[in-house]
Amino acid sequence: MLATWRRYKLTRWLALVLLIVLILLPLPQFLAPERKLVTNSLLFSFTQLFMLIWMASNWNAFSGFTGYVDFGHAVFFGLGAYGTGVLMVKLGVPFPIAVLGGAIVAAIFAFLIGSATLRLKGPYFSIAMLGTFVAMREIVRIIKPITGGGSGLTLPPYLNRPLFYYVTLIGMAIVVLLIWLMRRTQFGASLIAIREDEVGAEMRGINTTRHKITIFCLACFSTGIVGGLWAYQNTFIDPDIVFFESRTIELVMMTILGGLGTVAGPVVGATVLYWLRDIIWANFLDYHLIVQGIMLILIVLFVPEGIMGIIGDPDSTSLGRLWKKHFGQGEETEQPTTTTEVQS
């Protein structure tokens, strides 16, 4: 018990230090832009990573906690992007307000679609969301006058890398922190209860519908913000680049790799997968997708509880057990024992 606690405390300190380093990182940009200690493209890479972590955390906060696997989460990214884009291009709304508007569009849509689809169980919810995603892509294509149809929308180019860096870093940090706090509350715990046994949870007094819709809308709002930010920094959106199936899959993979339903899971998973993919890409070229596929299968099969799972409970994964068998000594995990305290 104590060891566990110490380990978590250490992780917390590490996280804080890392955050401070990340916040200070772009400073050279301002102090001495000509000294290329920190380049725009480095900042840009980080920005992308932060967005991934941010979105994976959103996805995890909903799907990882409630067990409703949203296979169309990219639809909210897309709505955020298009909401922002349309507000800026067609109505000339300034960016900060447009981003909020886009996120609100995403949240409202989440409320509407969630009210209907959140009654579905298991894979059916996933399919319904996937269907929603595909349908939305075509709808955006069809309503040309607003969205520009298949040709997309061109946003005013504003490519301030350090700014996007800070915005995404802080946004991501806030979201992760909020989720961390939430997990410790009754609200967060009841999301888990919904995942484990929804009917039971309902009968034990949890208003499951309200909880599901609340967290769904919050997560989608948050993803909508990311969509808006992405649209602005990419300067161009069209249905196929913002409503991109792989975007959802990517989030799912990252979360699983890190640890589904854990707060740190998406952060760790996104970071690891982001770098891992680059390494695979660089080393396997033509085969990289095949290698990546094989790697993902291995991860899912042998580390289903993710990296956090291994850290937290080595017994839960075959890899963890292997690790423990060969290298483990330290912590004695408390074993269940049968109860026979018959008489005092």
Binding site: R321, T337, T338, V342
Partner: protein
């Protein structure tokens, strides 16, 4: 009560079995149980003692890590479920195990899945319907819509379809109304006397279970701690106090 329990070699012998769900942790730590042909043997014990785990290890759902299981003088340690069935053991598990979308009749037919002789299957179904008239009434009902007790009857009936040499019953009376419980216990006894059916059962309804049993075991913390005839256990003050909620 113990008329034919002393003759012959044991039909089933569990020798010093170790087993569990995780690789590095044993739930069963040396269980020894034997059942002679034609006996009814009842295992009692506190919740979580490992009673059901014994059955799972016997029937090949989890692996035996140490020790042996002998049946009919053959070593059946870590046998596969279908082979256990073929050698004449059937099981009524603690948790529900019916095919909810199939009818009562189809469920019974599945009990004879390994049998190809249609006539024999039908004969056995008639026999089970005689045993449980309630099932005959509901022959065409989807099992998923039946009450808990009705499903329990069906499970027992299905286990008997196969005309096994040994039935493992994990709390057969759980959730059954007294009338049915009585008739099931009486029925078990009857089958035992008529066709020499051998039964190894787990019961929390320990009094009634031990009443009809020839012998009984008490299982605690993954080991058996007491052993004796049903009556002995029923009257052992230690056992009464600890496991029978005795007065």
């Amino acid at each position: 009560m113990t008329m034919d329990s002393n003759n012959g070699r044991p039909l089933l012998e569990i020798q010093d079995v170790y087993s569990g769900y995780r690789t590095d942790f044993d739930i069963l730590k040396g269980v020894n149980i034997h059942v002679k042909p034609g006996e009814i043997v009842c295992v009692i014990g506190p919740n979580g003692a490992g009673k059901s785990t014994v059955f799972k290890a016997l029937y090949g759902f989890i692996t035996v890590r140490q020790g042996r299981v002998l049946f009919d003088d053959r070593d059946i340690t870590n046998i596969r479920p279908q082979d256990a069935l073929k050698s004449g053991i059937t099981i009524v598990p603690q948790l529900r195990s019916v095919f909810p979308q199939m009818t009562v009749k189809e469920n019974l037919e599945m009990g004879m899945y390994l049998e190809r002789d249609k006539k024999r299957i039908n004969r056995q179904i008639d026999y089970i319907f005689d045993l449980f008239p309630r099932l005959a009434e509901r022959a065409k009902q989807k099992v998923g819509t039946m009450s808990g007790g009705e499903q329990r009857m069906l499970e027992i009936g299905r286990a008997l379809m196969w005309e096994p040499k040994l039935v493992l019953m994990d709390e057969p009376s759980a959730g059954l109304a007294p009338l049915i419980t009585k008739s099931i216990f009486r029925g078990i006894k009857q089958l035992n006397q008529q066709i020499g059916l051998t039964v190894l059962m787990i019961e929390q309804n320990a009094r009634q279970g031990l009443e009809i049993s020839d012998r009984g075991y008490v299982l605690e913390l993954g080991r058996n701690s007491y052993e004796g005839t049903g009556q002995e256990l029923l009257h052992n003050s230690e056992v009464r106090r600890a496991f029978l909620g005795g007065h």
